[in-house]
């Protein structure tokens, strides 16, 4: 906070003007505690508030029908930029952005292309999924106390939906790229808020030989990480760096920088640089990535992962977002 204060006092005049710039954020029904994109978007918003001095506000939607109402509320109150989190809000954003052409909108994880006042942030999470997959595939060849001699890894997904599946698809391809014999177990719990079932799902995979489990399951994933810790195997976090949850267990995390996207869009809009249409966040523009691995991961593997990252960036490797059955 001290830093924030000093940075604030540095640009007080700027801030006075920025204060008139109002940003509203509408979460989807997952709410701000989803340990996923709603939370990250909120963090981006908070960052913009403290660093740019904009006025920021948010509403958590309780049901589907709240989307239109909440977006409209912000637009009516002359918010400059309204952020809609989640592809579930696509229809709502299309409708409200038409009614309020002077308001700018950002929608996360969607693909609205035909509106001058709507930006759609799309994350190439298959790319970061691929990288952690490469890391997992290579780790399978390593030997340490956490790794068994079976060549099996697992992914626990929440619901079987595109933002989840793109991660999983990338992970599958990444593993296979470096270790074609690895068996990749894929399971879904059917929810994002039941860590108890996440834990049992992970334990099931571990019992089937998995010694690295990747989760793409929001709060359900808390249970996956807990299971990995309990069974002394590795976990891979998702969306944000989740190493803090189990420092020796979470070997890395696949990052989807919704916070960055949110912050950048706010900044651009503030500076009259708002770009409508599809905005891709990928490895090339650092919109996705992987978190710093723990020291169990040898440097050689990290180097290899970075090699693959470069190949993806320069287009030599194209990662599909379709899960292999």
């Amino acid at each position: 906070t001290k830093q924030q204060q000093s940075s604030q006092s540095n640009n007080t005049t700027q801030n006075a003007k920025n204060k008139d710039f109002k940003v509203g954020l509408v979460t989807d029904v997952g709410g701000i505690n989803d340990h996923s994109f709603n939370q990250l978007a909120y963090q981006g918003l908070e960052k913009a508030k403290s660093e740019l001095g904009v006025t920021a506000n948010f509403i958590q939607s309780k049901q589907q029908t709240d989307y239109v109402t909440n977006l409209t509320q912000f637009a009516q109150q002359k918010y400059n930029l309204v952020i809609a989190v989640g592809f579930l809000m696509k229809d709502a954003v299309e409708q409200v952005s038409k009614e309020f052409p002077d308001t700018k909108f950002l929608i996360i994880d969607s693909d609205i292309t035909d509106r001058p006042n709507v930006a759609s942030a799309t994350f190439k999470t298959e790319q970061c999924g691929y990288l952690v997959g490469v890391m997992a595939g290579l780790m399978e060849k390593e030997k340490n106390s956490k790794l068994n001699d079976q060549n099996v890894v697992g992914v626990v997904g929440g619901m079987q939906i595109p933002p989840v599946d793109s991660y999983i698809a990338g992970f599958q391809q990444g593993v296979k790229a470096v270790n074609p014999d690895t068996k990749v177990l894929v399971s879904y719990t059917g929810n994002f808020n039941d860590p108890a079932s996440g834990k049992q799902m992970a334990l099931t995979q571990i019992s089937q030989g998995a010694d690295i489990v990747f989760h793409v399951a929001g709060q359900t994933g808390d249970g996956v990480i807990n299971a990995a810790k309990e069974k002394n195997v590795y976990a891979i976090g998702v969306d944000a760096d989740q190493n803090y949850m189990a420092p020796d267990t979470v070997m890395t995390s696949a990052l989807k920088k919704v916070d960055v996207a949110t912050f950048e869009t706010i900044k651009n809009a503030l500076n009259n640089n708002f770009k409508s249409g599809l905005v891709y966040f990928d490895l090339a523009n650092d919109g996705v990535g992987y978190a710093k691995p723990i020291k169990d991961v040898p440097q050689s593997i990290i180097d290899k992962v970075n090699e693959y990252a470069n190949k993806i960036k320069d287009g030599t490797i194209k990662v599909s977002d379709q899960v292999q059955k």
Binding site: V186, D194, P195, A196, S197, K199, Q200, N226
Partner: protein, 307 residues
């Protein structure tokens, strides 16, 4: 299939998934046996799950976390009892109100106390217990040993509850009050007090179930983590014909179906079809068993003592 059935994880997952159903189902048995329909178990579990983490974090002891959860859970149950028994309010509406309240209240406290990134990772967990001798038996040992202490507590509680309900005077009185409160009153029994007791016990068991979710299986709280288990427990209790062993049996069936659906995830079937398994199996079992479940005669009917 044989491979799946011989995987000890199938059976330990069965036990693990049955525990947070069996505990509230057991609680519900007490409440409904005394004549109060307690749909608030879902909310009580959630609140207890939160306070278990909070107290465990504050005191550094998972046991004190469990104690705190149980106390808070019972307080909520007693408030429910006050409205349902003393004020003779509609029990189902009250239950729903508490569930809505609990969802908001825990999320609110989570955010104000711990912020958005969740509960502290150094929160202590209740221990897993190794059972000597059994633990060395192959297969069986992997299933029956090394579970959370709450699993063993639950098993003890089931036997104790059965004993309490069917072999003690208080148990007899609770059942009498749920069947015919007027008759119980004329036998000199204090109907109101016993209904409070029944509801308080349901709070106690639901709270243990909630604590199991947050500091038994895990060491964290997340929003709405009870995930409807309080409702399914209600079904398990009915399926179990309002008896402790029956409730446990129904919870095990449900836990087994859930565990099986986890094992089947790698099959070619659609995951969403597989996930229907626990629910379909329950209906089939119920219809197949010809499960005529007759609730206690005065279940859900408020009683006003004569004046």
């Amino acid at each position: 299939m044989k491979e799946i059935l011989l995987n000890p994880q199938l059976w330990s997952a069965t036990l693990a998934m049955a525990t947070p159903l069996a505990l509230p189902a057991l609680g519900g048995t007490f409440s409904e046996r005394s004549g109060v329909v307690n749909i608030a178990m879902e909310g009580i579990m959630l609140i207890a799950a939160f306070f278990a983490v909070l107290f465990a974090h504050l005191t550094g002891s998972a046991w004190l976390g469990l104690l705190g959860a149980v106390i808070v859970g019972m307080i909520v149950a007693v408030i429910f009892a006050w409205a349902a028994v003393t004020l003779t309010a509609d029990q189902v509406i009250l239950g729903m109100a508490i569930n809505i309240f609990a969802s908001g209240f825990t999320a609110y406290l989570l955010n104000t106390i711990f912020g958005f990134s969740g509960t502290p990772t150094d929160t202590p967990m209740l221990p897993n217990i190794d059972i000597p001798i059994i633990k060395n038996i192959p297969f069986i040992g992997q299933i029956l040993s090394g579970n959370s202490v709450i699993v063993y507590l639950m098993i003890i509680l089931i036997f104790a509850s059965d004993y309490f309900l069917f072999h003690t005077n208080l148990g007899l009185r609770i059942r009498a009050v749920g069947e015919n409160p007027e008759a119980a009153e004329t036998a000199g029994i204090n109907v109101i007090k016993l209904r409070y007791l029944g509801v308080a016990l349901s709070g106690l068991f639901s709270a243990i179930g909630g604590a199991y979710l947050s500091i038994g299986l895990l060491n964290s709280f997340s929003t709405d983590m009870s995930s409807g288990r309080g409702y399914i427990a209600l079904a398990a209790m009915i399926f179990g014909k309002w008896t402790p062993f029956g409730s446990f049996g129904a919870a095990l069936l449900f836990g087994f179906a859930t565990a099986l659906s986890m094992q089947l995830q790698n099959s070619a079937l659609s995951k969403n079809i597989i996930m229907m398994l626990p629910y379909i199996l329950t209906v089939l079992a119920l219809v197949g068993v010809g499960g005529k479940s007759v609730p206690p005669a005065a279940d859900g009917v408020p009683y006003t003592p004569k004046k």
